[in-house]
Symmetry: C2
Subunit: 380 residues, 2 copies
Amino acid sequence: MRPILLALAAVAFQTSTPASSDTGEVILTETSHQAEFQLVEITGALADPWSLDFLPDGRLIVTEWSGAVKIVKNGVASVSLRGAPTVLRRDEQSAGMLGVAVHPDFAQNQQVYFCFLHGDYDSNVSRIARARLDGLALVDLEVIFEGNDRSEEYHHSGCRLTWSKDGNLFATFGDRRHLPGDSQKLDSSTGTIIRINDDGTIPTDNPFSGDAGARPEIWAYGVRNVQGIASHPETGAFWFSEHGSLGGDEINILMRGANYGWPIATYGIDYDGSIITDDVELEGVEGPLIYWRPSTAPSGLAFYAGNQFPHWRGDLFMGSLGDRRLVRMELRDDRILFQEHLLAELDERIRDVRMGPDGYLYILTDADPGGIYRLEPVEN
Amino acid sequence: MRPILLALAAVAFQTSTPASSDTGEVILTETSHQAEFQLVEITGALADPWSLDFLPDGRLIVTEWSGAVKIVKNGVASVSLRGAPTVLRRDEQSAGMLGVAVHPDFAQNQQVYFCFLHGDYDSNVSRIARARLDGLALVDLEVIFEGNDRSEEYHHSGCRLTWSKDGNLFATFGDRRHLPGDSQKLDSSTGTIIRINDDGTIPTDNPFSGDAGARPEIWAYGVRNVQGIASHPETGAFWFSEHGSLGGDEINILMRGANYGWPIATYGIDYDGSIITDDVELEGVEGPLIYWRPSTAPSGLAFYAGNQFPHWRGDLFMGSLGDRRLVRMELRDDRILFQEHLLAELDERIRDVRMGPDGYLYILTDADPGGIYRLEPVEN
């Protein structure tokens, strides 16, 4: 189909799946090159939210950096769920409670997974835990995985969670800032994307599972701080966004066992202007699909595959913290043909982007107060 | 090598090849992400220049839309050369005298090639002619090729000329605006990129040379108005820029026998907002590497492969008429990783871009008066 606005009026929107929450206030309307949409506030009553996911009954589950986990129903955010894991929260980025992922079989097992920073200022580490959602409580909390890079550094700790089609959990672990070189080490969970089973055990078919001295959970390595990961609706491949240093933000395609080069090959320089490496390309290092300079600070990533915006189908959406935009990218195979910046008028740091089961696009703004908003087509 | 400014001071510039013309006035200095450069005016005394090429002795040859062909030596433009072909010139784009290409063996044969619109308002056609440069005269003028789409339409007539490494001449023929559908017809030179020998005969290994009803000169088809074509310094493949309609400007890689889709598949819409086709992709149609919306109106194209700007090596430069910029693109294989707009301060329509044999980058501004400028590194 041709992706232009003029064709839109002729398209019958399929709205058979109800929206996840009641419709709230329309914050703004905007015309994309591909669609006219309105932004509806689901809730604006969150404090530094970081990630969200969808429960089968239409409710949302959302994390806040402070450690709070809340349920959003009919546009109302709950109190903090009892039983949430204890997290280390400081006033800088990437510490605290981060990713959340609802188990694919939630309807049967009510399991929800979290990735967060655990410990104290002198010694902390990334953890993945799961718990059973029971009313407004998380019960049977169980830490199923912990990084092996315990340190006093709480920056650049990722962490997004996502499920593969075959039921493995992928998590993105940051470079912990003072250990960036460890991103190149296979004996460290620093700067890696890991793949584990839903009980925290390690699949035996991981790329380095048989290698002496290598961490078996590693699926890919050489990343800096990945805060967006999404599965391509057709190929099933994971694409991920990566915070580079100054001017080295990237989008990459996740490949088994691949090295993404940080910090031995990068398009970025250090924040003080100094050179990190002379190389932007290296043998054996996977290159990005695109990079940003100056930095856009990319966060959540989502492919659009729904029916609410037929002309957006196949597009990739990315939250930008730095540019305070939602970036829409048109693709052809693994080529980014076109970029468009949306939601300039909202002017918020966009931390997460998700396509809901209802086919709407959801964003989460990183602020206090922050909120969850839904992009809906304007039906002419 | 790492492409950042901070590394630049350490690079010893190789300036063994003298510049094509004496250094003129510095118009501006600018800092790219990759290099600090100054823009030097070679000549500002041209009237609507369209294209330029380099003679082995350091002189430049330049075409003007009106039909004039001039030699630029030591920053001074000559009078119009005697003996230039007669062209049809109107006040709209793409008519008149267009592309120029110096024969690779110019030192031996003094041949220069031109592509231009020939005829009158009721009946005109694209022609390719060659002549021998003798002092300030063109002698032995010979029309070596003519399109088969003679009509009253003088828009969208291309036309860039370039040589392949094996000595064939490629020319880009436009869609003649009122015949866009003919871009899909193999029996028409409309909307094609052709490949001919240097005497105008047709190579027998062209993709459609044996096909009944197909024009044997066609190398590729389905283009709209190609005004930039350049050979990749490593692969030798031609990349070309294409003026789309409203919002469908593209960069493509030229492939033997390929169909680039105009007007049956495009990312653009018509100037009046109406839909040209519902398809952006089609089986059997080559897709672009990137497209622009809104239009940037891409013109001349050049790969940088010189020694003056080590950090630009491998980059693709494109003149933009609409945005009045020089676009620098960083590549990895056939992926455009990054775009940067240069020369905003100059604020001119940039019609042609060439890398000189001296390793400097030359641009040509489409204006009256228009000029030729050279980008030189600022040596710190």
